[in-house]
């Protein structure tokens, strides 16, 4: 298993409640992504973040805006992924 770093969109939230609303919003709309622990590079402390592909940003912003989901920040950073073979 090899570990590689992949540019990823990380969305952070002011509250856990907002993070869960993001997940519900994305699942309902069929948007890709998943919840991850907030990387230390983005913010220190407790918290959840939404991880998606860097190219999904515009669609995600539109969906979260339409649903009124509060967002703290969005950034693209390289995150670890494990690949077999």
């Amino acid at each position: 298993m090899a570990r590689v770093r992949v540019p990823s969109l990380v969305v952070t939230f002011p509250t856990t409640a907002a993070a869960m609303s993001c997940e519900e919003c994305c699942e309902r709309r069929g948007l890709p992504g998943r919840m991850i622990p907030v990387p230390g590079e983005v913010a220190a402390g407790c918290g959840l973040a939404w991880k998606a592909a860097a190219g999904d940003r515009d669609e995600l912003v539109a969906a979260l805006d339409a649903d009124g989901v509060p967002v703290e920040g969005m950034t693209v950073i390289e995150l670890l992924e494990f690949r077999t073979g």
Partner: protein, 382 residues
């Protein structure tokens, strides 16, 4: 899923706990509100749970066990009810925000003077510094019985000796230890012990409370419905009512009672804690010395002071990345980040990257631990 986040909550509960909550939800009324069969049954459950907690914590008076929603609520109530204008309080860098933030508020709003005792490189409390900081006139010492980051246990009996010699009270946070380490308020000299029901006690979330030694005057934090003395302007001061404004969570307490009885049936906190400690030791032994893996806590310095947590980092990786890799690759549930204990991370130098906390519980198995060891080794190997 391999669940190794028992320091956050014990997700796997004894069947008896689940059944007790379900039965309570089908039968209990409101404790202390009338004399209907359901109300009386709820009162009986609350009393039996008080008695069980008193047994568990060595509290001589069951009516000095007061229930709340969790440890945080109990700690807020205890600290707010004991610290007055300008009082000096000593606490430690091991504490959770459930102690640090209420004390910060008391500093802001009541002018409390708060001093923080440090720790060594293993995260062990600096008792010499504690002795220096607890000067005569100190109102209280707020100390955890076990760090929620490293799992290190604190000799709270020694802390109490030092505190009492200076005339200070001791408020102990047993969030991480109740149910998995022996606590005896009288023998240890603890004035208030705050606990939560959903961790080592294997009960439902939304349960917890405090046990208060006789003669310790914790002023009520919340006031409101009590079921008694309805025409009095202020909340009654009788125990335990003084700390229990509003409807008790008797559905939850039924589960908490079942959790405590389950622990007693399995040998008590010492036996349960020993089992959890052995699992953690197996995990520690499996990852210690692996190139690129740093383990925190007292495992090398004094394993007897270690609870059931293995806290680690992998070189070159953020703790969140390791936790995510464990989850995605091996289905391991654990906790990365700061664990709401900022001063502990500052002391360990892990403010930026956090720590991967693997916390063992009663229902974990040796096979699960071996899988996690293999996973950590593979992640570290890159």
């Amino acid at each position: 899923m391999i669940y190794l986040d028992n320091a956050a909550t014990t997700m796997h509960k004894p069947r008896e706990v689940v059944d007790a909550v379900a039965a309570a939800m089908c039968s209990l009324g409101n404790a202390g509100r009338g004399a209907s069969a359901g109300a009386l049954d709820a009162g009986r459950v609350a009393l039996r749970c008080r008695e069980a907690v008193a047994r568990l914590l060595g509290c001589p008076r069951a009516d000095h066990v007061c229930f709340s929603a969790n440890s945080t609520a109990a700690l807020n109530a205890a600290l707010s009810g004991l610290v007055g204008q300008g009082d000096r309080v000593v606490t430690t860098v091991l504490e959770h925000n459930s102690v640090l933030r209420p004390l910060a508020r008391l500093a802001d709003e009541r002018g409390a003077e708060v001093a923080y005792v440090g720790c060594d490189a293993h995260g062990l409390l600096d008792m010499a510094e504690l002795e220096r900081l607890v000067v005569p006139g100190t109102r209280l010492v707020a100390v955890t019985h076990g760090s929620n980051v490293t799992g290190n246990l604190v000799d709270v009996a020694r802390v109490a000796e030092i505190a009492h010699a200076a005339g200070a009270l001791v408020v102990a946070d047993a969030s991480q230890t109740a149910g998995s380490a022996p606590v005896d308020m009288v023998a240890m000299g603890l004035d208030v012990v705050c606990f939560t029901g959903h961790k080592g006690l294997m009960g439902p979330q939304g349960t917890g409370g405090m046990a208060v030694a006789e003669g310790v005057d914790v002023r009520p934090w919340a006031e409101g419905g009590s079921g008694v003395h309805s025409f009095e302007r202020r909340h009654p001061l009788e125990w335990p009512t003084r700390m229990e404004a509003g409807t008790l969570n008797c559905h939850g307490l039924a589960g908490l009672l079942a959790g405590i009885e389950y622990i007693e049936k399995n040998g008590g906190p010492a036996a349960v804690g020993a089992r959890e400690h052995e699992l953690a030791r197996r995990l520690y032994e499996g990852v210690r010395g692996v190139p690129g893996v740093t383990v925190y806590g007292a495992w090398e310095a004094d394993p007897a002071l270690c609870g059931s947590i293995v806290a680690l980092n992998v070189d070159g990786l953020d703790s969140a990345e390791v936790a995510d890799a464990l989850s995605e690759g091996w289905g391991v549930a654990c906790r990365a980040g700061a664990h709401c204990a900022p001063l502990m991370h500052r002391a360990l130098g892990t403010e930026r990257r956090g720590i991967v906390r693997l916390s063992c519980g009663w229902f974990n198995t040796e096979d699960e631990i071996d899988t996690v060891v293999a996973a950590v080794r593979e992640i570290a190997a890159g």
